[in-house]
Symmetry: C2
């Protein structure tokens, strides 16, 4: 039985990782989205186990203590985390699981699961990133400066990532991520069990 | 300036590496064939610098002594080898260079250039390899047995290879090798200079 891949896609705000992530999920049915656990209240359209697993703060803290998360973070006093069991069950079944996640989450996952394949999405230059942030028309000068500072900080942690996609053209970037996923399936490490079986070991 | 890739494609006789190699070269003009040096006499259609660099035995032995080869081997009392300078000039220019080579050559290249990307082409099973060898209609029972023994020996050295392509369907196998090449171009290590330049380091 061939294990699936755990894929991480990360990168600065404005580089286009979310669009690429959704497009890759659309085109590769074998790649699944991971479902997070959260302590925030469900919104009207959100379904348990589809959009999130909803937990109370006490339940969540109990899960942290029990080491049940691949990564966990708090945003505006709510917790969000990725349950190990959910992800590892999918991988064991042979599904690939992909995460769109910030660099702190990427670091936690790489630490707990070093075989995770990490992809950093970046604009070709910081100038283009600035143009894109400005083009949103919703960011203040302060927030643009802050996001550019974060982008630089994230890129300086490039060694955390196995791959980098310079998102110049969306279509090409989506294809690059798909090429990466297909190539990872040909990795010798991914196929070691099959090779050993062929050799009778 | 982005360095090109050094790609190695290897695998047992009968697995289809030669066909895949030629098809990938046809489809990816950015991928170049390496030109070998040989001591064997040129055949009528063979051109210096296109098919081979032709050298005398003395010249060849001098090149060995001077450490000018990425790999060298003798076949039926002739020498064949890959000149480092030729290959590194292409890589420095940003071209990718691909080799179809036996496992001894693959090992020499990996040793002298650890960044080489090595791909092993194998049939899905040894039974299929045997069928394909038998299907040639030109192999004796002895040579089939010898080739199967070699195939097993080569596969047992699987750790030398970064990737494995199980050649069940030629078209899919060619696409897999192309995916691998494209993914390798997104490797963080391949893009480290560009990232450092962006960060101003």
């Amino acid at each position: 039985m061939k294990q699936g891949l755990l894929l991480i896609i990360s990168g600065p705000s404005g580089a286009g990782k979310g669009t690429i992530y959704n497009e890759v999920l659309n085109r590769m049915p074998s790649v699944k989205k991971s479902v997070s656990v959260t302590t925030r209240a469900p919104r009207p359209h959100e379904k348990e186990g589809v959009h999130y697993y909803f937990k109370t703060l006490e339940e969540y803290q109990h899960m942290i203590a029990a080491g049940e998360f691949l990564e966990t973070a708090s945003v505006y006093s709510n917790y969000y985390g990725t349950p190990k069991k959910h992800v590892f069950d999918l991988i064991e079944k042979g599904d690939d699981v992909m995460f769109e996640i910030d660099i702190h989450g990427a670091r936690q996952i790489k630490k707990r699961y070093p075989r995770a394949v990490s992809i950093f999405v970046m604009t070709p230059t910081f100038e283009i990133l600035e143009q894109r942030l400005r083009g949103r028309g919703t960011e203040t000068e302060d927030s643009i400066a802050r996001r550019l500072g974060s982008a630089r900080n994230e890129l300086s942690q490039y060694e955390l990532f196995d791959y980098i996609v310079f998102n110049e053209d969306l279509e090409k970037s989506v294809e690059s991520v798909i090429d990466i996923i297909k190539a990872e399936k040909c990795k010798m490490k991914t196929n070691e069990q099959r090779v050993k079986a062929l050799l009778g070991n």
